[in-house]
């Protein structure tokens, strides 16, 4: 037991003895996690960040175009600003705006006509930044709803709509090509709208009737959505920093595990290895002590990261604390075993460093440490179940912002321990113990 504890103590002394490396090793993930956490939603109150900058070029100047702009400006996900065509094009090209909508001259009139007749539809030009395809879809969806609501409202109750109804009636009566059944149907429809407008005018003449008229004007969405973020409990806001700190913690601890492996390969080339091998130490003791010391270092890094996240960003362990500790411990163990496997399979430190960094980055990327796995395509999401970091991320997310119980940590813990055993097994069997291999 004395040699085992001495080996662990020595590793910890060396780790904590290099204070600059410790500070940098903790500071870098903190900075990156803070940045990513901010980008991915952060804490309550920074939703402003997610608004899509949208420019609107109004070449029409009609009631409908003005109404459309007002409707768009009321959207919480859009930041709408008026612009000219040239300025809008330039702004989108420079990435200062995600998209620009050009409302052409006579859009209001043509859109009204197109609502009831087969007249040609006016075109709304949407200039967009091709690097923002996702936002473009959102803008088009919002635009469709806003146009329908604005145009129909104007057609049913607005002044220009009344003119258009009259024009439409005249058009229906004068169009000789129109089948008689269609003419009758359109006459009834437009006549009904005209009658409705006249009745509303009469009602508006009475005091306090405007609100009612307003309420009945135009087509509106036949439903409303009620949004509720499902977190650990009611009134508990999602905290994007929880995922970011878990992700950066996982990434940097994996790199630390890699360093442990590379250091072991480097050690093999030194007199220290000869001295260790000359002492009556078993392979299990040497590798086991490395596993324990690396796990303790990994646990320390996670503890510091989440303590910082708790104090500065309010990240809390809303689920099972025991589950959180269990996931951290299992991941730390898995990382240590991963480092030893690198040492066992590697030939020289220089050659090993390259491919093991690549493997680590793949594990980090596919494990969802950079961006959550739900963004991945379905096939890739299925594939990532074989990546241990995916389970570490799932476990940490479950125990932090999702606020789930210990049972939700069990599967990640078991799978991480399985990987730890697998990697450790490879390390023990493949590790070149003697100097000559």
């Amino acid at each position: 037991m004395i040699p085992f504890l001495a080996l662990v103590r020595k590793d910890l002394l060396l780790f904590f003895g290099d204070r600059k490396a410790v500070v940098v090793g903790i500071l870098v993930p903190i900075v990156l996690a803070s940045f990513f956490g901010y980008l991915f939603g952060g804490q309550k109150g920074n939703a402003e960040m997610s608004k899509v900058p949208l420019l609107v070029v109004d070449q029409d100047g009609s009631d409908i175009s003005r109404g459309l702009i007002t409707q768009l400006a009321n959207e919480k996900n859009l930041s709408v600003k008026p612009s000219t065509l040239d300025a809008a094009r330039e702004a989108v090209r420079k990435g200062q705006a995600t998209a620009a909508i050009v409302i052409p001259k006579d859009f209001g009139r043509d859109a009204g006509r197109a609502l009831f007749t087969a007249a040609s539809k006016p075109k709304l030009d949407v200039l967009y930044d091709p690097s923002h395809n996702v936002e473009l879809g959102m803008v088009k969806g919002i635009l469709a709803g806003a146009v329908m609501q604005t145009v129909s409202k104007e057609m049913f109750s607005g002044s220009s709509g009344r003119e258009m109804v009259n024009d439409g009636l005249a058009y229906v009566e004068s169009d000789s090509q129109l089948p008689s059944e269609d003419r009758k149907a359109l006459r009834d429809l437009l006549g009904g709208v005209k009658e409705l407008n006249e009745r509303q005018d009469a009602q508006r003449a009475g005091a306090g009737a405007s609100r009612q008229a307003e309420a009945t004007g135009g087509l509106t969405m036949p439903y409303e959505t009620r949004e509720e973020a499902i977190t650990s409990g009611q009134n508990v806001e999602y905290n994007g920093y929880a995922h970011a700190f878990a992700g950066m913690g996982v990434q940097f601890i994996l790199f630390m595990g890699l360093d442990v492996g590379i250091a072991l390969l480097t050690l093999r080339q030194t007199g220290l290895w000869q001295r260790l091998r000359a002492a009556p130490l078993s392979r299990t003791m040497l590798l086991g002590s490395r596993t324990v010391s690396a796990s303790l270092m990994a646990g320390f890094i996670l503890a510091v990261l989440f303590s910082f996240a708790r104090v500065v960003f309010g990240v809390r362990i809303l689920g099972s604390f025991a589950g959180f500790v269990g996931v951290c411990a299992a991941f730390s163990l898995m990382t240590a075993a991963f480092g030893l496997m690198v040492a066992a399979l590697g030939e020289t430190p220089e050659a090993t460093r390259g491919y093991s960094i690549m493997a680590t980055l793949f594990m980090v990327m596919l494990g969802g440490a950079w961006v959550p796995t739900f963004i991945f395509p379905a096939w890739l999401q299925k594939l990532t179940v074989v990546i241990p970091t995916r389970w570490a991320m799932d476990g940490l997310d479950s125990m932090t912002w999702r606020g789930l119980g210990f049972s939700s940590a069990l599967m990640p813990i078991v799978i991480l321990l399985f990987f730890a055993l697998l990697f450790g097994g490879v390390a023990v069997t493949r590790f070149r113990w003697r100097v000559d291999g």
Partner: protein, 310 residues
């Protein structure tokens, strides 16, 4: 007692150690002498259990090292050729760590650490980080770390590489002190003067094979000459040294610039005749000295090559 019996080790087609055998008695100091790449370090590594041999065996007090944790390993202390210390730790922390590898802890470890620090005269630097030490101090601490568990056999693989003469002398004083304590030392080097100063017996290895194994005195007997008379001539122009080979007892004669070197077997018997012949033949001289041939010469005689050029 340590016995190396017919040990062979190959790396592919390269035979690094070829049927090496020798024996070291308790309290004896032997020098493994040979040029770089001769197989000295490989031999030491096999003795220490760092390498497995292809054939042959190493017996320490009649027992083979059978496993990594075999208690027989406690009888050996290894001083590797490469520095085996943690620069980031203090000298004492290094020694605490290496003592613990041999299950030494508490008061016993403290005593052992104080003893070895005292031996290598680093007690006053115990609390300093090794990274701040000079090369010579590191070498001495490297030696101290191998002594903590008080091994009977000390394997020293070129322990003075890269140190200044003063530090080398300090290390030698440490080793002489250990020798006086009855420790068995196996010392690899390619420095003749080190082997000559320290070793009771020399094992010369070349191309992985033992080519000589005897005391220094006995090795000298292998030479055609055991003494050299060096004469500084006043005028060397036209002097033909081969004329001297006819003199009784003279085995060799060579002239380099104005220094005449004459090899003889018996200095007291043959020197007067050499000096008399020079005087009688009109070759005046202003300085005479005698030298014993060193191990370099022994190696040259045995292999036909200079040790340092090999």
């Amino acid at each position: 007692m340590l016995e190396v019996k017919g040990v062979t080790k190959s790396y592919g087609p390269l035979v690094a150690v070829n049927d090496v055998s020798f024996r070291v008695d308790d309290g004896e100091t032997i020098g493994l002498l040979g040029p770089n790449g001769a197989g000295k370090t490989t031999t030491v590594s096999i003795i220490a259990g760092l390498l497995s041999s292809d054939s042959g065996e190493v017996l320490i007090e009649g027992k083979q090292v059978k496993s990594d944790t075999d208690p027989v390993k406690l009888k050996i202390g290894l001083v590797p050729q490469d520095m085996a210390l943690y620069d980031q730790l203090t000298a004492r922390d290094n020694l605490i760590f290496f003592a613990a590898l041999y299950s030494l802890a508490g008061a016993k470890a403290k005593q052992a650490i104080d003893d070895v620090l005292n031996l290598v005269e680093l007690s006053d630097r115990a609390g300093h980080k090794v990274g701040t030490f000079s090369g010579g101090m590191k070498r001495r601490l490297n030696l101290a770390a191998a002594l903590l568990h008080d091994p009977q056999i000390l394997l020293l693989d070129e322990p003075t590489v890269g140190v200044d003469p003063q530090s080398r002398n300090a290390i030698f004083e440490n080793l002489e002190a250990l020798k006086k304590r009855g420790k068995t030392l196996i010392y690899t080097t390619h420095y003749m003067e080190e082997a000559e100063r320290l070793c009771d017996r020399i094992v010369i290895i070349d191309h992985g094979k033992v080519i000589a194994n005897d005391t220094l005195q006995a090795l000298h007997q292998l030479l055609p000459v055991t003494n050299i008379i060096a004469v500084e001539l006043d005028l060397a122009d036209g002097f033909k040294p081969e004329q001297m080979l006819t003199l009784p007892g003279v085995k060799s004669a060579e002239l380099k610039q104005s220094t005449l070197r004459v090899g003889v077997h018996d200095l007291s018997r043959d020197a007067p005749g050499v000096l008399r012949w020079l005087a009688e033949n009109g070759h005046s001289f202003h300085h005479v000295s005698s030298e014993q041939p060193d191990l370099e010469t022994v190696f040259l005689t045995l292999t036909g090559r200079s040790l340092r050029d090999s």
